[in-house]
């Protein structure tokens, strides 16, 4: 990271972020209400998941609709290793590495597909895995009683908090690095990026690796959190779609967009489910998503910047 690039503005943002994280760390000490902790846990899980998609879909402009595949691989590997009494950090690492390894295997052929074919190909890939795991492992993986009896939400919350903070930090670092600049060049115009000396294949693959590693990590934390998990569900396209809507509604290709999007998503989900049948938040978010795509390419973050003043330098671009 470039030390001299810390402007006073940036310091203010960092300290604000620090305070928020500190407050979040205090929550389990202040309240024992599991519903609040569960909301926060899901919000933070979505922060990691959507940031991981943001790297490949937001910064690099490769809309990967097979993101659930990597979430699922990370979750499944971490879950089974952990249940076989491998220490949790090792299990999480193994899950993430498995996701990234799978990304290497399919990355070379997948990135030969351009534009819409990449999108279709990744979508189909995740569906193949979902069908296979639904068939091979039809039964839900339930925690054994030795773990269920000692189940506590608090350590899970802290783990997911730490990983979400790391995910935001990683995206922050990428967005300010030369690597990130290369990715954004690919997003704006791949041929032009290649012509000006960016090794686009290598950069895309690297972005894919970081993105899938992080997605696998999100999956692993979910596997640690869930007391029961249907293997096919871990590969469900819902994980991809939630991440995509969160990123777009929050602000695609920005650091704070996925964070705002996650908070908004879970909040709306909880509020609407109080009065209306489940799934209505998807309806609302779907409409918001279309509006953002058509009229507000910057998402909520872009709207905020428009309202507060056009003078601030915006880094998010159009797709």
């Amino acid at each position: 990271m470039n030390k001299k690039s810390f402007s006073p503005d940036m310091l203010k943002l960092l300290s604000a972020g620090g305070i928020v994280v500190l407050l979040l760390a205090l929550v389990p000490l202040l309240t024992a209400r599991t519903d609040i902790l569960t909301w926060l846990t899901f919000t933070l899980l979505y922060v990691t998941l959507s940031q991981s998609w943001n790297i490949i879909g937001g910064y690099t402009g490769q809309q990967n609709l097979g993101h659930a595949a990597f979430f699922g691989i990370g979750a499944l590997v971490a879950r089974y290793l952990w249940l076989y009494e491998i220490p949790l950090p090792l299990a999480l690492l193994a899950g993430s590495l498995a996701a990234a390894t799978f990304a290497i295997i399919i990355g070379f052929p997948a990135f030969r597909l351009k534009g819409v074919y990449f999108i279709i190909g990744t979508l189909v890939l995740a569906e193949i895995l979902r069908i296979i795991f639904d068939t091979v492992l039809p039964r839900a993986s339930v925690l054994p009683s030795r773990l269920l009896n000692t189940y506590s939400l608090t350590p899970r919350y802290y783990l997911i908090l730490v990983i979400a903070v790391l995910a935001v930090a990683a995206v922050y670092w990428i967005s300010r690095s030369k690597f990130g600049l290369g990715l954004m060049a690919i997003r704006e115009n791949e041929d032009a990026a290649e012509a000006s000396g960016v090794n686009t294949q290598k950069q895309k693959l690297l972005a894919f690796l970081v993105s899938t590693f992080m997605s696998g990590l999100a999956g692993g934390t979910y596997a640690y959190y869930a007391s029961a998990a249907q293997p096919g569900y871990l590969f469900s396209a819902v994980w991809t779609f939630d991440a995509v809507i969160i990123v777009f509604v929050g602000g695609v290709g920005t650091i704070m967009g996925p964070v705002i999007g996650s908070v908004f998503f879970v909040l709306l989900q909880q509020l609407l489910s109080l009065y209306l049948p489940g799934g209505i938040h998807v309806l609302v978010f779907g409409i918001l998503f279309i509006l953002v795509v058509l009229f507000l390419p910057g998402g909520l973050i872009g709207l905020w910047k428009k309202v507060t003043g056009p003078d601030s330098k915006t880094r998010e671009g159009s797709r």
Partner: protein, 293 residues
């Protein structure tokens, strides 16, 4: 005929009736993608809506599903015009790469929204369209052929022939083909590209609606059935090569038969097999099996 050959023959017949549906579902998607360079990923959602409309017409008004085919087609055509005007017309002016991606994103939004609306209107229960004669069949060369899928097959063939005639014999068809080859040149030649896009998109949705009625007649309808059909249609479109109407029909038949026969040997993995074949073709022959480039 031995048991095995009879089983195979029956499976192939079933595969053909399902495959024709795949073909019909794919034709609409292929048309909009080929002509407008827009990928409507909510195609399966509109198919699902068509099925539910026929379900309503039968249960509330007692209208025979085969008679409701034209009604559903008209309803979806109008819905297509509205959707195009409000959602897709603004995207049509972008460069090709942006156009595909943005249309895909808007379609993705619809893909999220429409199932929720369907859930509100028809609940999440599994529905199917069951006229009194559904389930009846007649023997044909040792194989049983059910009336309803046979009727569906007839409708599919008729619709695809009609579409083929419209595209090759009419002025509108000429403008569609001209626009799909080069919309700028077409515009210079005096073709109303905006109107061509509007009608093409509406026809695509009407085709989805007709397939939806046939899906509701032969298979189950749920609010979440759309993605499965979009995927099937995509597979067929890629198999056939984009924009090929006849090719889409035959590719649909191939997929239907391969899946049906594959199911004998592979059980539930047959669906995954179809998707794997699709990925391989996407990698190795992106112009499709019948495409030429």
């Amino acid at each position: 005929m031995g048991m095995i050959t009879q089983l195979l023959a029956q499976t192939v017949v079933n595969g053909i009736t399902v495959g024709a549906l795949y073909g019909l579902a794919a034709v609409g998607l292929s048309l909009t993608f080929g002509v407008m360079k827009m990928l409507n990923i909510a195609h399966g959602e509109f198919l699902m809506l068509g099925g539910y409309l026929a379900f309503w017409l039968l249960t509330l008004r007692g209208i025979d599903p085969f008679l409701s085919v034209p009604l559903v087609a008209v309803a979806l055509f109008l819905l297509g015009m509205i959707c195009y005007k409000f959602l897709f017309a603004g995207i049509a002016r972008f460069e090709e790469e942006t156009k595909v991606k943005n249309s895909l994103l808007v379609g993705f939004g619809l893909f999220l929204v429409i199932p929720q609306i369907a859930r509100l209107l028809w609940t999440g229960d599994v529905r199917s369209i069951t006229p009194p004669y559904s389930g009846e069949s007649f023997p044909f060369l040792n194989v049983r052929v059910a009336y309803v899928p046979l009727g569906g097959l007839a409708i599919t063939v008729a619709v695809i022939l009609a579409l083929h005639l419209v595209l090759t014999k009419t002025y509108f068809g000429k403008s569609v083909r001209g626009t799909s080859e080069n919309w700028k040149a077409a515009k210079l030649m005096g073709i109303n590209v905006d109107r061509t896009y509007l009608i093409t998109f509406a026809i695509g949705l009407a085709l989805a609606g007709v397939s939806g009625v046939l899906v509701g007649l032969t298979q189950a309808l749920t609010p979440d059935v759309g993605m499965e059909w979009t995927l099937k249609a995509l597979i067929v479109v890629v198999l056939a090569g984009i924009g090929s109407v006849g090719g889409a029909f035959f590719a649909g038949l191939i997929l239907g038969v391969v899946e049906a026969v594959g199911a004998i040997f592979m059980g539930p993995y047959a669906v995954a097999l179809g998707l794997v074949i699709f990925l391989l073709i996407l990698m190795l022959r992106p112009q499709g099996l019948f495409g030429n480039e």
